[in-house]
């Protein structure tokens, strides 16, 4: 009908009793992402570790492992088929987890800038590696932090999913940006960033290479966008010298919002250009940060029309006023 794809877990279908209606606290128990528990995860794909330590042993700072319960599986060829009026594709893809720190309770604001730079560099190198696989069309990088944001483990981690198709929301953004580009021969994101940094009303932080602001058309209260000031299509092509700027704005922005909402659950997503995509001129990578402060209800689902109880100008003012 509207061209949206969904993933159906046929390998481990959940029984009705597997769903918890209300999950308020963390499950507890042994954390497979903690230092010393390396044997509880699948073998690592890569890691930043001290010299002379072996893979899958302690001595690491950032570690990448395959997801133990992947939404998609890496083996096999892509196979699309029809079933009456319906379209199907097998679930080929990659699903990796970047364990951001060996320490269970350290989120981004608790890490050193250099540690965050390591995380960014690791995410980039994994994305660059996955891009080489011809079956994949899009690399999606995101973080779920806190149970109400959909994180199943408490230990801070980022996820990478390589997809055999470009997801619908990304396509829409790319088509929108392309239409603007065709018409004005300028990138809409560059124009937006120019307008935001001039008006300053919604800007939270700005450094040499990046700006963080509450978007004019926020969908959620305290939604934040972090974008490179210079036009750039691919996140994974970020120049080495810009990584410290990104680490610092990411840390300072999240620190500010967690000062306002100490127990905040959040999601962030890196929006980047599809691999070898068509009509991608005028697309500009960026990070969308979405605090989980509201319950999305029927109206939002039905319309794709969001109700924002805190205007972004006001949210930006609260965030700006927080002292580090």
């Amino acid at each position: 009908m509207i061209g949206r794809w969904v993933i159906v877990d046929t390998d481990h279908p959940s029984a009705p009793s597997d769903f918890e209606i209300e999950e308020l606290t963390w499950a507890g128990g042994v954390c497979p992402f903690c230092l010393g528990n390396e044997s509880l995860t699948p073998p690592e794909i890569t890691a930043i570790r001290d010299p002379a330590t072996l893979p899958n042993t302690p001595g690491w700072q950032v570690r990448v492992v395959p997801n133990k319960f992947p939404a998609l599986q890496i083996e096999g060829d892509l196979n699309r088929k029809g079933l009456g009026i319906y379209d199907m594709s097998n679930g080929v893809g990659a699903h990796e987890v970047i364990i951001e720190t060996p320490y269970h309770h350290k989120d981004i604001p608790d890490l050193l800038n250099e540690e965050i730079e390591n995380i960014i560099a690791t995410v980039c190198s994994r994305a660059l590696d996955l891009v080489k696989d011809k079956r994949f069309k899009y690399i999606m990088i995101f973080k779920n932090y806190g149970p109400s944001a959909g994180a199943s483990l408490e230990h801070p981690h980022t996820q990478i999913i390589a997809l055999p198709m470009v997801p619908k929301n990304v396509l829409e953004e790319i088509h929108g940006a392309h239409a603007y580009f065709e018409y004005r021969e300028r990138c809409i994101f560059c124009d937006m960033i120019r307008q935001e940094t001039q008006e300053k009303e919604r800007v939270i932080l700005e450094n040499k290479h990046f700006v963080s602001f509450c978007p004019f058309v926020s969908r959620f209260p305290f939604e934040i966008m972090i974008a490179p000031k210079k036009h750039s299509s691919y996140f994974c092509h970020i120049p080495k010298e810009e990584i410290p700027s990104l680490a610092s704005i990411l840390k300072d922005t999240i620190t500010k919002i967690k000062k306002i909402f100490p127990k905040l659950a959040y999601n962030y997503i890196i929006h980047t250009t599809p691999i070898d995509g068509e009509e991608t001129e005028g697309y500009h990578w960026h990070i969308e940060f979405m605090p989980k402060l509201m319950r999305v209800a029927g109206f939002e689902w039905g319309t794709g029309f969001y109700i924002v109880p805190t205007p972004p100008e006001l949210a930006a003012r609260y965030l700006k006023e927080i002292k580090d």
């Binding site: 949206r4 794809w5 769903f19 809409i188 124009d191 209800a297 039905g302 029309f305 205007p311």
Partner: protein, 340 residues
Amino acid sequence: MPELRKDPIIGRWVIIATERAKRPDQFAASAQGPKEGPCPFCEGQESHTPAEIYAIRPNRTPANTAGWELRVIPSIAPFLRIEGDLDRHGRGIYDLMNGIGAHEVVIETNQHIANIADLSDEQITKVVACYIDRIKDLEKDTRFKYVLVFKNYGWVAGGGRVGHSRSQLIATPVNPKRVKEELVGARYYFEHHERCIFCDLIKQELDTKDRLILDIDGFIAVAPFASRFPFEVWILPKKHCADFTKMEVCLRRDFAKILKQTLLKLKVGLNDPPYNYILHTAPFRRNKVGYWKSIDYDYHWHIEIMPRLTRVAGFEWGTGFYICPLPPENAAKFLREVKI
């Protein structure tokens, strides 16, 4: 006045509350619902709600007093305001308009019952009739393009503090994006096949029966092939009809019956889960030349029920790509076997 803003990239509108702007300390930190307070929706409490817009009063009792079976009131916290003229303007690269619209609450029963599934077939038939009457009335206001009818049941699903069964109607001055996407998709299929995609879907589901949950008189309830959520259910009329308000009067009771049985199966089988349902119907068509010419043929009204059992996380938000942990065939089998 709330403000509507348009995303310059993908064309999505959002509503920004400017008057009742929330401060950071007004967001509840926990996901747990607050304790239930006194109920303003029960019979005898009429003075605690805004004045009614519509009511079913079989004994012709005066408005805003006891003696009603169903009441519609304006929302106490409306997302959009009814007064004023539409005003669209630009600000730099951004588009905005003032937040004109209507936001009404249907109090579905005078009893303090939380879930519509526990109301009688007769009472749900009245709810259906009320939806139709209210949509038809709002259609007269030419500022509106669409009326969204939906229900939030349970705190997690966005429901309120009070466990008294109700649903909401919102009339919007623009056609919402998801509604448009569905219309465009249906029209595209019609252009290629000269058939309604929903009619084809119903035929295929009745043939294969894998995803069929209920087949009652003029309606079917199915777990959709591309379910976004576990136990997602759609109810569709078997006979082609684009517009919910054009449903034949004799079908209203059948629709009430299948809605009740479906929701009851979810309640019994899944331990009373929170859910949302949303009515999908054709937007207002006011004799615009060339506008959605084929809509009466290519679109087919239906209702989508989404139990809220999983949380939507970063992946779904970012991609619009849902991970459904339960195949709809298994969900349908489970729901078929639930005894109600």
